[in-house]
């Protein structure tokens, strides 16, 4: 990234931060959080294409929701340290706008009016992104999207859907799903497979405990 582009990026992100704060968002661990309910918050990431060969700067706003209990339980079951605030569901803003396809906001050096363009980008987040967040607030809606691999990928579903089932009291469904994927990775020794084996073992233990009424109970909700 050139020094000029770096300066432009810093300027654009600074303007965006001010405007997003005006929408009620706050930045935490590099992403923007939109407070919604006790267990759920809106999630926004600004994915930057700063190495375009035309020297312009592209920003792909990614909107999502974060179900705090799902994400907390995921951290607990994978035994991984939580280093980032991950979304439970997410998608590039262009796909939930009338455009219906991938869109990148492009920023150029002056005399291009990057301040106005930034304002338009934030306005689109407000008009299309926030309603998307609100439409996926309920755990049942999240489960349906995970089941359809909508606003997510299979890599994420194999972790989050069993956890979501567990949280909704469907211990059997959670165990069945984790067991099925465990079967797929049982002969693999790569990192992803190892991580899944740890996760699945912990989930199955928890599911069994919950089903027998001897569980440690569901994780209490904590903001973020």
């Amino acid at each position: 990234m050139s020094k000029q582009t770096k300066t432009l990026l810093a300027e654009v992100l600074k303007i965006a931060a001010t405007e997003l704060t005006g929408l009620g968002m706050h930045k935490t661990k590099g992403v923007y959080i939109y407070p919604m309910g006790r267990d759920v918050c809106g999630w926004l990431g600004l994915n930057v294409a700063a190495n375009r060969t035309d020297m312009r700067l592209g920003i792909n706003p990614v909107v999502g929701i974060r179900h705090c209990r799902i994400e907390k339980m995921l951290v607990e079951l994978t035994r991984e340290e939580e280093t980032a605030l991950t979304p439970t569901l997410s998608i590039s803003l262009g796909y939930v706008s009338p455009a219906g396809h991938y869109e990148e906001w492009l920023f150029d050096h002056p005399p291009f009016d990057y301040k106005a363009e930034c304002g338009r980008m934030v306005k689109a987040i407000d008009i299309y992104g926030i309603p998307f967040m609100k439409s996926n607030e309920m755990l049942q809606a999240i489960i349906e999207n995970l089941e359809q691999v909508r606003f997510t990928t299979k890599d994420s579903v194999v972790y989050r859907l069993p956890v979501a089932y567990l949280l909704s009291g469907k211990s059997d469904a959670a165990a069945a799903l984790a067991t099925a994927y465990l079967e797929e990775v049982k002969d693999r020794s790569d990192r992803v497979a190892r991580e899944y084996k740890t996760f699945a073992a912990n989930l199955l233990r928890k599911a069994t405990a919950l089903a027998s009424g001897q569980g440690e109970g569901l994780i209490r909700s904590r903001p973020l």
Binding site: K29, G30, V31, W43, G45, L46, N47, V48, A49, A50, N51, R52, T53, D54, G58, N60, V62, G64, E80, T83, A84, T86, P87, S90, I91, S92, G94, Y95, S97, P98, A99, H101, Y102, E103, E104, W105, L106, F107, D108, F112, D113, A116, E117, R120, K123, A124, I127, V149, T152, T153, K154, D155, S156, V157, R188, D190, R191, V192, A193, E195
Partner: protein
């Protein structure tokens, strides 16, 4: 760039001019290649998840042009090469081979801001050659 949003957002001429400058001007081959790759992914029923994502493997780090979800819901890494002489550089060859064999990690702010998982299993990087 969001040409269709102009009227919906009530932005009028201001956006039209920014589109002309920001989206319709001549671009270089690298950008063209990525834009073609994005169009191809979408024509196949996929969705772009993120751009310029850094991957880390036992063979080192490299940046891929895009990460997308294919029509079956799988996460795929893609690299666009536009022009008859465009090819992977030696570092990309090493890193992509390691990804294919053992998987790797998606690291850095762009991976985080695209909402991507931290680790990915073994798989090929798809090369979009134009």
């Amino acid at each position: 760039m969001f040409r269709g949003l102009t009227s919906l957002l009530g932005l009028g001429e201001s956006t039209a001019s920014s589109v002309a400058r920001g989206g319709l001007g001549p671009v270089l081959k690298g950008v063209e290649g990525v834009e073609k790759a994005v169009a191809q992914v979408e024509s196949e029923g996929g969705q772009v998840l993120g751009r310029e994502i850094t991957v880390e493997t036992s063979a080192g780090r490299a940046r891929v042009d895009l990460v997308y979800k294919d029509a079956s819901g799988n996460l795929v890494l893609g690299e666009a090469k536009n022009g008859p002489t465009a090819a992977l550089n030696p570092n990309q060859q090493r890193v992509f081979q390691a990804l294919s064999n053992e998987g790797g990690r998606l690291v850095g702010g762009n991976a985080r801001n695209a909402g991507l998982p931290a680790t990915i299993g073994p798989g090929d990087v798809r090369i979009f050659k134009y």
